[in-house]
């Protein structure tokens, strides 16, 4: 029923991190220092410790309150038996202690909640930024391969799972163990036999419980995260192909498979839940057994006068109070399991080392050379094979070819977002892999076919490329991409908010905003993937003319299956791509 933890996890990480290299996958994730359980606690800073301390004080006060009350009542009852004892009995002090404990308990537990949530929020903040940093440090080749929105969403969900461990895993154990140790110390001082009984109770709960339950609970939790991912993917795919499935009648089979997955997941949940119930019952039974034994021995001792009945009442109250502290332990293994799962999936992204090239000096006029380059996007069967070309300042290259033949792959390779499977790429004579990221970006700009506009205003989107750009500069750029007329008639002009994926803009407009942004950034080598899609011919021609003028000193590469007007210094039709070397030499 339950698979070994390695198997599902590996399968999950394979799917969710397509960009990871083989070396990354085979590394044992738990040993990564970046996201260890200790790290998750210590990152909370002082708040983590303070939360633990306050919690221990609050819970301790709660138990002590009950114990002091039990002791006080019993002692008062005994004192009431003889007038002498009654006279000697100081009732003011215990009453004051009881009131103090009551206040202490309320304040400490309230404080603990605030403080520990502050710690968790700090931790989450740190983790989110950590993922952001990790992804922005990630080698450009890896990032290029792992950028799907769904993956990002899943990563954010995983981050939220990581906080389970300090809050619901670590803290209950710390509180239970520290309070038990204090109580055991007290018993050691009072009575050896009672201490021995309590020691057995501690041994059973803190020893047997983790050993018998934890590994199984973690396996179940890991299995569930993996299975839930599989189920989600399966359903998404089913929905995407719903009409095909309904017209072929295959929907029923597919829904059955989904039901089976659901069933497996539910059964695993059932086991995990059952494990929690069983451990809770175990904790309660062991504590009850301890209390029973303490009563059995303690009552004898009390009758023979070795121990006062009031003290015994106090001890019984502590045992009853401890069940409230111990019961949450039964849920800690689940929390640990879910944190582990999230940890394993995030480990590769968090704390990515700074890698990539170091060369920051690309002097001289721009040049771009490809030598015998072969590349594939993911599992693609087709793509550029043995492409060689050499581009110099003032060159314009038009790459033309049918859909899906690998033009975009070639663009990604030329811009340094995809590592070639074979061959060399050089920019200004320097191998591209050796160039530092920022320097390369300043040199080569790619307009992707998948547009991305941020949900910000038009001006903010443009200013990403040049934070200190004046309004006039922005208008100039909009003029160049033939959007100025459109933007002027918007009620809020440059301050018009743009939705995600450019909602509110037509596909062609969004494409031109992205193009304008890239032009504002101004890298000397421009690679534009289908820049004219969704544009009418006059606008496309106008843009092309503008680009030609703008790029006199630079290099312009346009990928398009549409027919482009005017002369290019170099034009490749895809079928002729293999012969590019010859053509390139003729430039």
């Amino acid at each position: 029923m339950v698979r070994s933890p390695e198997k599902p996890v590996r399968a999950e990480s394979d799917r969710s991190q397509p960009g990871l290299s083989q070396a990354d996958r085979s590394q044992p994730v738990a040993s990564k220092p970046g996201l260890s359980l200790g790290f998750l606690f210590f990152r909370q800073g002082a708040m983590g410790y303070l939360g633990l301390a306050l919690g221990a004080v609050g819970l301790g006060a709660a138990i002590l309150l009950l114990a002091a009350s039990g002791w006080f009542i019993t002692a008062a009852g005994v004192a009431g038996l003889s007038p002498a004892a009654l006279y000697a009995f100081n009732y003011l002090q215990p009453a004051a202690v009881i009131r103090t404990l009551a206040i202490c308990r309320t304040l400490a537990l309230y404080g603990e909640r605030i403080v520990s949530h502050d710690g968790i929020l700090r931790l989450l903040q740190h983790l989110r930024l950590g993922v952001f940093d990790g992804l922005s440090r990630m080698s450009r080749y890896r990032l290029g391969a792992s950028g799907s929105g769904d993956l990002m969403q899943r990563m954010l969900t995983d981050i939220d799972l990581l906080d389970q461990w300090p809050l619901r895993g670590l803290a209950p154990w710390f509180w239970a163990v520290s309070l038990c140790v204090v109580f055991a110390g007290f018993l050691f001082w009072i009575s050896m036999p009672l201490f021995c009984i309590f020691l057995v109770v501690m041994l059973l709960i803190f020893g047997v419980l983790p050993v018998t339950v934890s590994s199984r609970a973690m396996d179940l939790a890991l299995f569930q995260t993996w299975k839930a991912g599989e189920r989600r993917q399966f359903l998404t795919e089913t929905l995407a192909g719903l009409i095909t499935l309904r017209t072929t009648g295959a929907l029923a089979t597919r829904l059955n498979t989904l039901e089976e997955m659901d069933h497996a997941l539910d059964t695993s949940r059932w086991h995990l839940h059952g494990l929690g119930i069983a451990s809770q019952a175990l904790i309660l039974l062991v504590l009850s057994l301890g209390l029973w034994m303490i009563l059995f021995l303690g009552a004898g001792a009390a009758v023979s006068g070795q121990i006062s009945p009031a003290l015994l009442a106090g001890i019984c109250c502590v045992m009853l109070g401890l069940s409230e502290v111990m019961a949450p332990l039964s849920q800690t293994f689940q929390a640990l399991g879910f944190t582990r799962g999230a940890q394993q999936r995030l480990a590769g992204i968090f704390d990515v080392p700074e890698d990539g090239g170091t060369i920051t000096d690309l002097a001289g006029p721009p040049r771009l050379e490809l030598e015998n380059v072969t590349a594939r996007q993911g599992q693609a069967l087709t793509g550029p094979d043995h492409v060689s070309l050499s581009l110099h300042p003032g060159d314009t290259l038009w790459i033309q070819g049918p859909s899906g033949c690998g033009k975009s792959t070639l663009a990604a390779v030329m811009a340094g977002w995809l590592a070639p499977a074979q061959g060399d790429i050089r920019v200004n004579g320097v191998p591209m892999a050796a160039v530092e990221e920022k320097t390369l970006r300043r040199q080569v700009g790619l307009l992707d076919q998948d547009l991305y506009l941020f949900p910000m205003t038009l001006a903010q989107n443009l200013r990403l490329a040049k934070p200190d750009a004046e309004d006039s500069e922005l208008w100039e750029i909009l003029e160049q991409v033939a959007l100025a007329t459109w933007a002027r008639q918007l009620p809020r002009q440059l301050d018009t908010p743009i939705g995600e994926y450019g909602t509110g803009l037509s596909g062609g407009q969004a494409r031109r905003v992205c193009l304008g942004r890239l032009l504002l950034f101004g890298p000397p080598i421009l690679i534009l993937d289908e820049p004219f899609e969704g544009l009418d011919t006059p606008t496309a021609d106008r843009l092309l003319t503008m680009l030609r003028q703008h790029r006199k000193e630079g290099i312009l590469v346009i990928i398009s299956h549409q027919h482009l007007a005017g002369d290019f210094t170099c034009h490749f039709h895809w079928e002729a791509l293999q012969n590019m070397e010859n053509q390139a030499k003729t430039i």
Binding site: I73, Y91, Q125, R232, G241, I243, W292, V303, L464
Partner: protein, 571 residues
Amino acid sequence: MKPDQEKQAGKWLKGQVAQVTSLLWLSAGAGVTASMCMVVQCFLLAHLLAGLAMENRFDRHLLWLLALPFLLRPCFLAVKELLGFRAGRVLRRRLRQSLLETIAAAGPHRSRIAGDGSLSAMVLEQVDAMDDYFVRYLPHKILAVATPVLIVAAVLPHSPVVAGLLTVTAPLIPFFMYLVGNEAVRAGRRQFQALSVLADRIRTMLQGLPVLRQLDAVPPARQTLAAASDRFRIKTLAVLRMAFLSSAVLELFASLGIAVAAVYLGMGLLGYVPWARGTVPVPLGSALFILLLIPEFYMALRRLGTDYHARAQAMAAAVSLMPLIHARRTVFQGGTNVWVPAGPPGIQMQQVSWQPSGRNQVLHAIDLDIMPGERVGLVGPSGSGKTSLLHLILGFDRPSEGQILVDGHPLDALNPDRFRQQIAWLGQRPEWFSGTVAQNLALARPHAGEDDFRQALAAAGAWAFIHPLPHGIHTALGEGGQGFSGGQLQRLALARALLRDAWLWILDEPGAHLDPETAVAVRRHMGQVTRGRTLILAAHHLEGLEWLDTLIRLDNGRIIHIERFRHGPVS
């Protein structure tokens, strides 16, 4: 989350819960029995201790009796949990099934409800998010009433004063919680908004990271992100301070309850109670019994407080499910007749109009007679109603007026699933599932052999590129058909449609996103292999469609022109 939406969702949630009321009551019943065990346990323990203190007597019978509640209480608690889980499981399964049915019935119109990603999140994560509500919150809600009543009843004969104290504080607790909680709910709503804004910002930043890197704009973006999440933390803490007050109120009452009762009972035993000096109002056994019960009294209420977030979570999930629940009512389930075609069918549309609820009319009184074996093209600008017309024929929608006849059978009366299985359908972008080429083709004909595949692939012009692959038809197709070019995928889709061997073909702009040369080649091929079938095809432009028998021009939901190239059906 708007209040009226919440109200609606709450009502619906209640309706769901009604299906498993008996299980939930059983679960609560087990909980109440466990509480009774607790009362018995406290009673025995108190009297054992009182006997020791007052008479120096160790009553072994009491000790042996004590073992009984010690053993039984954990068992009943476990039963309570198990029954709650069972109820949740039953509910989740039913709910998921009915949601899936709704989505499947909505077919292409599911996009009106939500995107595929959100829909699968609804069916999976949102349904799962309700679990804690069923398993914990609902039984505890019953327990939060039953246990305090039970305890007050147990205390009353021993000390009316303490029983009075408990009964007075018990209603005060919900009252204070209401006051504090109301503010917390309002603040919580604000925080929820802040959270979604933050989550959105992080997501967009991550998604746009390649752009940020391209533009060398990562550091400022990181600064914005850090500042936003700092603001969020401070805002959240302000909210939490408020929200935790309600649990602090409970904590305070529990502490004060114990403290006040202990001082009163202790003073009473000493004979110092102001209004009864020199007498003992509650004897030691009863006093200890009461003291041990008081934490349990507040415990039931406190547990409800900590489970409250389960309710909030379930509410949020229910609110997000509402669009899908509402959609269920509008989805047409279809008739029961089964149509078995003997050859290419004829299709008549009589005065068919269609107006989706709440929107403008899409089709106006369409009259159309498609002969058996006729191949018809629907052309017109986008938004002219081509796709809507196809969806009516596929039975994903019903005409608001008029009717559609298939071989003379009214479409309304046919079982829509059985009817659709007689259709070969091809869309703009063919739909693929992860698996091999063969597995994807087998969807069309589950028991097809290698020969069938080869014939179909050859007829569709796909054999030429499948054959040389190292794994042939067992080559893996990635998600969404990764690995093959658009033209190749269209040919594979054609092969799949051919395997259906259907008499009726419905095609929605096949190859619309392909480059013109590839599109024309695929379309011409389509013409060769669909001779003798009834075929309806929607298209933007006509290149490669010279083989159509009839061309129908649509504009604004009306037929503006019918052009027949050949006379009589081709058979």
